[in-house]
Amino acid sequence: MHSEEQTLALREQFDTAAQQKDASTLGMWIFLITEVMFFGGMFLAYSIYRAKFPEVFAIASTSLNVKIGAANTLVLICSSFTMVMAVRASQLGKLRDIVWWLVATLILGFTFLAVKAFEWNEKFELHHVPGMANFHLNGVGASMQGPASIFFSLYFAMTGLHALHMVVGVGILTWLIIETKRGKFSAVYMTPVDIAGLYWHFVDIVWIFLFPLLYLIDRHLNIQ
């Protein structure tokens, strides 16, 4: 374990603080690329099943609540803005501002998760949960209930994995708030705030693609 002083110091393998920061940034981006591949596989599975069962996927996709989805997208975009403002405050060394912007981001993160929980609960009420004996999607024949449950399996897997990333993000934000209050960061050393920002924005980007692909692309068919 490093003591706090050692963590703040320039580690011996680096020549300058700038080089140390660049190395951290690069490392985070490499992690985020593995995440792109991770989510990429799910997007791929979704697009292939959608091509295979276009009518069923259109009906299932249209059953999702667009207003809630769009509102939640706006919540996440707001949280990305507050996060970038936290990073900016850390660049300027304004510790009090970092805490306020991080708290705002945390609240927005919890808001997103609460709305998501509401949406998932709705799926249980509508019998749209795959694997449950009472699964049924209206407007789809008995022989096509299987593909309909594939849509909802992918829906739960993708939004669930995204929400799991949000939960991790909320944990990271909480840790950052505590460490900022304890005076760990300054304009000279704010790498963790910056790196956490990259993670948070990445999770936002995943949702930027999930929202249109799950909620929007079949709306023009006017099914409901």
Binding site: V36, F81, Q91, G197, I208
Partner: protein
């Protein structure tokens, strides 16, 4: 330790203005509303194309401004491009596989 780091307080960070971030935020919010409304317009097969195009624009705004890739090192940018390339290999190879499976009439495909 303090003397050691003091040499490096060369604030090399590029700090964007609040105005820049507000504009990016507004653009993202407007794009969200636009993509939602345009989804109800019957563009046929182009509905997916438009939705993805808007999503890619939003992604680029987040990546370039909020994630500071404009100011990133060339190495980071190259690594990112490499990552995008691998993602397209994942997508492209799988699509060609699924798209061509029925061509040869292989039993049990």
């Amino acid at each position: 330790m303090q003397e050691h780091t003091e040499h490096h307080i060369e604030n090399h960070e590029h700090i964007d203005s609040v105005q820049t971030y507000l504009l990016v935020f507004l653009a993202l919010a407007v794009a969200t509303v636009v993509t939602t409304l345009v989804a109800y317009v019957d563009l046929g097969a182009f509905s997916v194309v438009v939705a993805l195009a808007i999503a890619i624009c939003k992604m680029l705004l987040v990546v370039m401004f909020f994630m500071h890739v404009r100011y990133s090192t060339t190495l980071t940018k190259l690594v990112l491009l490499g990552g995008v390339l691998w993602f397209f290999i994942l997508i492209g190879m799988t699509y060609t596989d699924f798209g061509s499976r029925t061509w040869m009439g292989v039993p049990g495909r």
